[in-house]
Structures are given as structure tokens and as C-alpha cells.
Subunit: 270 residues, 4 copies
Amino acid sequence: MNIQQFQARAEAIRDNKAFELFVVTIIIFSALLIGARSYTIGGPWMTVLNVLDTGITVIFLVEILIRFLASPQKMRFFHNGWNLFDTAVVVISLIPVEHSETAVIGRLVRIFRVLRMVSIIPELRTLLNSLLRALPQLGYVLLLMFIIYYIYAAIGTTLFAAINDTLWGDISVSMLTLFRVMTFEDWTDVMYETMAVYPISWLYYLTFIFLTTFAFLNMVIGIVVNVLEDEHARVRAEQDAAEGKATLDDLAQEIRELKALLHQQQNNKE
Amino acid sequence: MNIQQFQARAEAIRDNKAFELFVVTIIIFSALLIGARSYTIGGPWMTVLNVLDTGITVIFLVEILIRFLASPQKMRFFHNGWNLFDTAVVVISLIPVEHSETAVIGRLVRIFRVLRMVSIIPELRTLLNSLLRALPQLGYVLLLMFIIYYIYAAIGTTLFAAINDTLWGDISVSMLTLFRVMTFEDWTDVMYETMAVYPISWLYYLTFIFLTTFAFLNMVIGIVVNVLEDEHARVRAEQDAAEGKATLDDLAQEIRELKALLHQQQNNKE
Amino acid sequence: MNIQQFQARAEAIRDNKAFELFVVTIIIFSALLIGARSYTIGGPWMTVLNVLDTGITVIFLVEILIRFLASPQKMRFFHNGWNLFDTAVVVISLIPVEHSETAVIGRLVRIFRVLRMVSIIPELRTLLNSLLRALPQLGYVLLLMFIIYYIYAAIGTTLFAAINDTLWGDISVSMLTLFRVMTFEDWTDVMYETMAVYPISWLYYLTFIFLTTFAFLNMVIGIVVNVLEDEHARVRAEQDAAEGKATLDDLAQEIRELKALLHQQQNNKE
Amino acid sequence: MNIQQFQARAEAIRDNKAFELFVVTIIIFSALLIGARSYTIGGPWMTVLNVLDTGITVIFLVEILIRFLASPQKMRFFHNGWNLFDTAVVVISLIPVEHSETAVIGRLVRIFRVLRMVSIIPELRTLLNSLLRALPQLGYVLLLMFIIYYIYAAIGTTLFAAINDTLWGDISVSMLTLFRVMTFEDWTDVMYETMAVYPISWLYYLTFIFLTTFAFLNMVIGIVVNVLEDEHARVRAEQDAAEGKATLDDLAQEIRELKALLHQQQNNKE
């Protein structure tokens, strides 16, 4: 069997619906294994889990190999982010994790196998891509929000570090405290503590909450407007593509032709 | 009286406005009874409540019977989910609940009689149906959210189970803890506890909050866009249906006829 | 001076911009008085406040009298809800509140004078009216939400009353507890308590949160769609009202006239 | 070198991309310095920070001077709010802060240097301006919200001051407590406390939450509608500007010309 035949066969397997279904089943099964491992279970079951885990790793390895063999240009295979991610997760799973120190890392890597669900199901991939594509459009709002956080954190550290070192010790801790305030999580405890020293400090918290809520709202509205615009553009493009539908320009053209005809008639008579 | 006359009479009762009003009144009354039962009340009143409860059960039984008799095809009656629900609630209410063990179950079933309100009032039925119809459209967002939860719960159990077994003991408990974090309910207590061991663990919580908030926002926006689109489609359909309103295609047709007329004139002359 | 002249003069005062500004100033001043009274202040100042308060009551009385005299049909004056509200607040303020028992009620009535701001400034009145007008449109969603609350409260009372009588004692207390759960206010404390007895009870809270959040979202979206539709209708009405703007129907009419003209020409020739 | 040449040279520097990039870098560096200062660091490093700080102040001073010299009308330079802000921050930084009393103020002023980021990057300036421009449009909603707060705070102080002086002592403290209730931060603790004295007081909190949530929703929807309208207006303006696109009015004009032509033909014949 030559290489070309080999590739064609790999491609046939890869594009088979049953193969895709089988891989999704294995991913779900591997997710259930990860869940099962989180319960305290007896020694014999642990051995079963380990065997099953090895089996899954082997199946994933074979699957990636088939995908790799099926791709016509081997070099391009790793240009795709999802392929790279899949390969990395499977290869790292191969490293034996006998020692207790690295066992945690091995288990953490196995968890990311669940993310393979996203790389396999096209609808999820599209969804995630559209989520990620929305982020940079909001770049400047996020930058503005970061500047607000940074300034308030710097003010907070300068004024309140002496009051509570755990909450306002340095600028990064202060930013975490401010995020807590933004989520309204026991924010009054934080406020009442500083108000005991600076009675006016409620102004600090209220302005911060107003500014961040306002910026957040703007971000949300920004996403809504973007989504609606994309939607409108899509609808308009569809309408334009629909055949047999007259446009105003078509009508104008027809009327111009009419006029030319009438002029011609007049010229003929004269 | 033959069966046909009987069915016609049942139909007349069922379609009577007064009958519908009477049933709604009884449902409201049964809801009030359920409420009254929740207060600690003296023995004699308890007897009154029990008698009234039996009365309501009998009325509901008669009502369902009328509906059943009124339906032309007896077989189809139970194909309707609401009819099935109504019958089930009433029939289970018939089982006597003297023993203290089953008394709780009997009372719980009686509570679902309030839901009959939804099955009787058409506007509520439409509303609930439209709510339920919106769910599957969001299926992939919900699946993505579940995957995010599952991965974070698996990571949380692996790393934090040793710190707090109550919150991170196994994967299902961890998912509940993560839902708590998503609702911002004392989430900093959870975070500060793990930050004492892993100082970097704030990253775990912040990324989780960002991802789920972002996915949730997308879900909301998805619903908004769907609703607006349905609305637009409805408006456009109405406009098209409106008589006597010229469309661009109508105009184009008229102009084409004009041109044909002029051509004809010219041909006549030549 | 006869009655007609008297009414005309009252009307002149009422429609005077300076008069409106004066009344708004007095309302703001009365609001400041109410605020000042909330601080613990010495006896002499208290006397000053009481004198000022009487002065404001007198000014309001005169103002309402002018409005009443200025209205052409005296009977219709009290058909306006805002006039009725204004008069009621001012008249009740007249009752002397010397006794300590009724003093609280007297002070509470005076607080509602601040609401007169809304009755005086037309923009605020319009805003409040539009807020209130939006409510009934959402009637069925609110009814559905109430049914959800009622059913969950009944279930909660039946199952959890024995666990915590303060939170789940009767159906009204349970509904308050459920509202607390919906605001995510220490809802995990409530849940963990019942989970100690019924480990599956997290399902009760999660389904409740999902259902109410979903219904709330629908309510919000309902308002958004309503507002946008009103907006679109307004824009379309404006466009139609704009003169000199051709519509498709106008064009169709013109073309029909053209055709008639051509037919006539043809008939003339034959 | 005369003044004109001097100004031209300053303008050349100001409009240089490299100059802008250099200033942004210095602002980021100054922000990092502020962050570094929040950590407890040894004495020698403190000296380094102070030297760097002086360097940044000098660079900013030179930069503002260049901007000032580059502006053609020196008087107008300070009419721009951002220029004024920049100059104020830099000039106040010049004041030596040796004494421990004024050291805090000096450090606080330096923090506002980070805001210069907004004044330098045009996109951020546009964003902030659009955020600020949206505020006055919402003026009446904010006024209505303030009135709701004021009335509830006055009622709260009158009734609950005797129960908890820390939360309901005077009207300003009550407004802060109400803001806390609106953020759902331990609001049930506040409620349960007053319910012990006035069992009906849950009505106070629930109506407040409903009113403010409803008003807030309206504010959000107001912003969304405004943004969408601006968007539509922009799109429509773009469409109108697009050349060669026929409008209904153009078509009507063409048809009118056609009719005139036909009438002329008829007149010629008669």
C-alpha cells in the first residue's frame, strides 16, 4: 500500500460520522472518569480507573494519528490551533505520573481533555470563536476599566494601607479588593472599616461602583450593538442575493429607458 | 339521551365563559387553602380545611370528566400534555393521605394544583410555551457553560479538596460551590481560604467569573436578538399582508407594461 | 371684582414661570427641612424648624388655592390624580401634631411633600407615567412569577418548616425567604441548612433561581422590545408626516396615470 | 530664530508619532512607579524611585511646554479641559513633598498622572466623552431615583432611627444604607432587624427594591435606545451620502418628466 492510498483511507475514516460519534463518546467517557476520580473510592476501583485512563490515552493517540495522516499537507496540520491543542493534551497525558509530586499535574492535564469536546463539535468551536472575536472590539473599554481600577487601587493603597493591610497592602491586593467591591461581596464591611477613619470614604466606593457599573453597561451595550449590526448586515446581504427582487436602481433604469423611447418617438416624428 | 347529545352538552358547558371563571375561582381558592394550611391552626379549622379540600378534589374530578366527555376523540385527549398533567394531579389527590408518612407527598401533589392556573389561562400557557421554546435555541451556549463548569470543578477538586472538603470534596459539590461563586455569594471567603495555600488561586476565580459572565451575557443577547427577529418577521409579514400597498415589484411590473405599450405604438406606426 | 376677573388673575399667576420656579424652590426647601429634622438638633433650632414648617404649609395651601381658582371647571380639578394627591398632602399637614403619638404620622405625611416635585415638573410626571404604563403590559409575566413563588413557597413550607421555622414557618415567610434567595443574599446559608436534612434540596434552589432569572430576563426583554417598537412607530409616523416625500403608493398612482394617458393617445389615433 | 519658526518646530515635535509613543511610554512607566511605591521596599530603592519620579515630572513639564508653544493661540490652550487637567497635575507635582503631612497629598496627585493616558490616546478620550455625553440625557431618571432615595431615607430615619442608630441615624446615613440594600449586600440583616419591631416593614424594603430596580432598568434601556438610534442615524446618513443610489423622490421626479413629455406630444398633435 503506497502513501497516497494510506492517506485516502485515513481521510475516509476521519470523515466518517461513526468515527466522530465514537470520539465524542470517548471524550464524554473520559470526562466521567475525571468526575469519578474526584470521589474517594477503594483501591481496586482505582486500578480500574487507571487502566481505563490508559485506554483512553491510546484511543486519543490513534485518533490524532489518523487526523494527522489524513491531512494532505503535514506541515499545515500544526498551524491549526485546535490540532496543536489536541496533540499537546494527548502527548502530555503519555508521561507516566507515578510519583505523587507530578500526579497532580498529570491529573490537571487530563482535565483539559474535556475541552476536546469544543474542538470536535463544530457548533461549539464557532460559538467560542465568536466569543473570542467579540473581545478585541471591546479593547478600549477594557483598557479604560483597567485605568479606573489602577487609579482607585493606587488611591486605596495610599490611604487605607494603614487601616487594613490584608485588603489594601499593595496595589495588586487593592485591585482584588476593588473587584470584590464591584461584585458587592461584603463591600459594606470594607467601607465601614475605612469610614471609621475617613468618614468621607463612602464617596470613594460610590464613585468607583458608579464608574465601573457604567463602563460595564457600555461594554454590554457595545456587544449588543455589534451583534445586531452583524445580524442586519447578514439580513441585508440575503435580501440583495434574493433573485427577481426589484431595487430602486432597477426602476430608475427602466424609467430612463422609457424616456429614451419617448424622445426617439418625438425625433422620428419631427 | 344518546352519546352524541351528551357530548354536545358537555362541550356547551366546557366552552361556557361562566364555567371557565368558576374553575379559575376554584383553583385560586385551592391555592388559598394550601396557603392557609401552612399556618399553625387549631384542630376544628383543620377539619374544615380537610372537608373543603375533598370538595375541591370532587369539583376538579367533575371538571376533568366534562372536558373528557366534551372532546370528540377520546383517544386524543391524553395526547395533550396539559390534559395529562391535569388528570394526574387530580387522580393522585384522590388517594387518601391519612398516614403521616404519605401525608407530605399528598400535600406536595395538592400544591401542583396551582399550576392548573397555567393550564386554564391561555395567555399563561402561551407565555410558558414561548419560554420553553427559547431554551433549545440556547442549547450550545448551555453546553459550553456546562463544560466550563465541569473543567473548573475538576480543577477545583484536584487542587482544593485537601483545603476544604465540604466545598471541594467531589466534582458535584465543587460545581455547586462554583455556582455559588458565580452568584457572588460569599465568594471571597471561598477564595481567601484557597489563597492561603495557593496565593495565585485568585486567577482561578477571576477567570471563572469572567468566562461565565461572558457566556451568560451572550445567552441573554442571544435571546434578545431572537425575540427582536421574530418581532421584525411578524411586522414584515403584516406589512406584506396589508392590501393596496404597492411594492417595488408591483411598480417594476407597471413600468414594464408601459414600455410594452410604447413599443406597440411604435410598431403600429412603422 | 367679579368671579371671572378673579379666575383670569389666578390663571395668570399659575402660568407664570416665576411662580412655578418659586414653588419648586419651596418644595426643595421643604425637602431640606425634612432632612435637617433627621439630625439631632438643639431645642431652639427645633422651634425654628417648626415655624418654617408652618410657613411652608401656608405657602402650599395658597398655591393649591390659586390652582383651584385658576381651573375653569371646579369639579374637574379633583378628577386629576396629581391635584388630589397635592391637596391631600397639604390638608393632612394642617392637622396639628402636638401629641407624641401622632407626631410620627405627621412627619411621615410631610415627607410625601417631596413627591410634589414629580407633580410640578412635567418631565418627571411623563417619566413616571411611562414607567407605570409599562407595568400592566408585563401583567402576565408578573402573574407567572407569582405562581412560581407561590408553588415554591408551599413546597418549602411543607418540607423545611421543621428545619427552620423562622425562614419557612408559613407561606408568606417562605415567599420572603425565596425573594432573599433570588437576590442571592446569603442564599447558600439557607441551602446548606436544608441540605443537611434533604441532601437533594440544592435542586429546589437551583431550579427556583433558573426559573425566576429566566422569567425576569423575559420581563426585561419584553420592556426593551416595547420601548423599541414605540420608538420605531414614532419614527415611522414622523417620516409619513414629512411633506414632499414620495411614497411607493404615490409612484404607483403616477405610473397608472401615465398608462391611462398612453391608452388615450392610442384610442385617439384609432 | 523668531517666534514663528519656534512654534513651527514645536508643532513638528508634537505631531511626531515617535513623540506621542514616547509620552505614552513615560505615562505607563510613571504608573508602574506608583504601583511599585505601594509595596514595602528598602530605603535605597526609595531613593531610586524618588529620582525617577523627579525625572518623570521634568519630562512631563517639557512635554506640556512643547504643546503650549505649538498651539497657535496661546489663550485658547487653556480653554481645552484636558490641557488644563494635564498642566494642573504636572504643576502640583512640582511642589516638594518632604513633610510627612503633605506627602500623602503629593502621592495622590501623582496617581492622577495615570489619567493622562486618557488625555493622550484619542480613542479613550472619545470613549470617555461619549460616556459623559450619555449622562445628562439620563438626568431626569437620575433625579427621579434621587427623589425615591430621599423619600425612603426620610421614612427610614423617622421609623427606624430608634432601632439602629448606626444604619438609620440621619438622612445621609439612611441613604447609604438604602444604597447597600439596593446592592443586596446583607440587606436581609437590615430588614430582619426592623421587622422585629415593625413586622410589616418588609413592604418598605420590597417596594424600594422594585422601584429602584425598575428605574435602573429604564435607565439602561434608555442608554441602549439612544445608542441604537445614533447608530441608525449614522447608517442612514452614510446611505444617503452613497452616490448613484436612486431615492423614491428621484423616481417621482423622473416619472413627472415622462408625463410632461407625453402631454407635450399630445399638444403637438392637436
